[in-house]
Amino acid sequence: MTQLKDKAPLGKVIVITSGKGGVGKTTSAAAIAAALAKRGHKTVVIDFDVGLRNLDMIMGCERRVVFDFINVIQGEARLKQALIRDKRLDTLWILPTSQTRDKDALTQEGVEKVLNELKEQFDYIICDSPAGIERGAQLAMYFADEAVVVTNPEVSSVRDSDRVLGLLASKTKRAESEGTEVKAQVLLTRHDQRRIDAGEMMTIEDVLEILAVPLLGVIPESPAILRASNVGMPVVLDEPSAAGRSYETAVARLLGEDVDMHMEGEKRPGFFSRLFGASA
């Protein structure tokens, strides 16, 4: 592998987490990783959901898995053997997990060792957390520098996200040994303005008032996402769609760019500028 850039890789670890299942963590992890890679950042996405591996399917590389994350942790394979290079983007890599083991196969030392090795080669390391707040989820967030908390605009998802924000502030390496915080932002997925207008879903303001962390982006409910998962394509690499564009905007903001969020089909154009302050 040739290193195109002269400077050392950034080595930033970002966890995609939520607490609740089915809110779109894996879809978001795949889309965010692909969007970062598309911008030329060398990115790897790791599946922490040991025993329920899905990321490889969303990424469309399930038939290329030979060795996995657990094999590397247990010393049965080298990291190089387990990393799968994406066929569409040469800056994107996948570290799949095992379908046959369970979360007990993850050890803190093992995860740290693999992440440290990845930090030497990659700009961004995206950790796709399993649902829940048990071992798998805790280890996925433990070494993170930043967190993206995926939330649906409904009460149980928001409450679980709040719980996860509490864990990010206390049960991470940064919190425990460095006394610094993991920077956490909310990614609101499955947003459906019609259902919000009908009073069936929480508004973005309500969600942000409860969670009290910055909003990274809003991803509309979209058939494009289901379609993309079924063909094993991250939504940002698939045909142009509102959801794909929303993920690209979210990633631009994740990289610290001052991008205004605007939603397609948004009925109240002034809304986002009200939330984030006007930007040119």
Binding site: R159, D162, R163, G166, A169, S170, I210, A212
Partner: protein, 232 residues
């Protein structure tokens, strides 16, 4: 797979303590009066009968009368505590469960020994939390007031032996006067609480007046009743 699961459950119950050996007409009148004035607190709440002060109350008919009087007013009496052997046998015959409870804290009983307890303590330790209290977190100020500059999320718990001040929205549970201090109060900027308690007397979101939702309030005890009052 098992057809059922066994899980731990904590249950908050109210205790009615009998202080007279031979409940008479005035006892029943007082009981009825109490149930009527505090019906929103008592009705629907799980209740145990505390027999600690009355080891001699072993008259089958009298005990039956007490139990009937409580149950007939719609109170969910389910057990007895601090019962002696004879009382326990009677209670079981009436379908009540003997409950083992380490220590109860009715307001007036603690009031007398709370000063003795505080006298031994070196100093008050107030606690200030400058962040949001997230769901699943529990913050306890064991010896003093608790101030939260932020909100308390649904599923979070804040507990203090003294007062609780919340400069944000209270969506979770707040328990002031946790060691029995009946003069403790809870203050919050916006009330959407799941539970409010002062010295063990509590109200849940179901029993909190809906007109007070989202208001700035203070919560305190008056005549052993939990009062919620708007503060502007």
């Amino acid at each position: 797979m098992d057809p059922f699961q066994v899980r731990g459950r904590f249950l908050t119950a109210l205790a009615i303590r009998i202080d007279v050996d031979k409940p008479d007409a005035s006892f029943f009148a007082a009981l009825e009066d109490k149930i009527r004035t505090a019906s929103n607190l008592l009705v629907g709440a799980p209740i145990v009968l505390d027999l600690e002060p009355v080891p001699n109350l072993v008259d089958r008919d009298l005990l039956r009368e007490v139990i009937t009087a409580i149950k007939s007013k719609g109170l969910l009496l389910f057990g007895v505590q601090n019962a002696n052997e004879e009382q326990r046998a009677l209670a079981e015959a009436f379908g009540l469960i003997p409950v083992q409870i380490g220590r109860d804290a009715p307001a007036h009983k603690v009031r007398s020994d709370a000063p003795a307890r505080t006298r031994g303590l070196a100093r008050v330790e107030n606690k200030i939390i400058t962040k949001h209290v997230r769901s699943g977190q529990m913050i306890v100020a064991e010896r003093g007031d608790l101030t939260v500059i932020g909100s308390v999320a649904s599923g979070a718990e804040v507990v203090a032996s003294g007062n609780i001040h919340i400069y944000g929205t209270l969506r979770g549970r707040a328990m002031a006067g946790a060691n029995g201090d009946a003069s403790a109060r809870i203050f919050c900027r916006q009330l959407e609480a799941e539970l409010l308690a002062v010295a063990g007397l509590f109200k849940t979101s179901e029993t909190i007046d809906t007109d007070l939702r989202r208001c700035s309030v203070q919560v305190f005890l008056e005549d052993e009743t939990l009062c919620i009052e708007r503060v502007e």
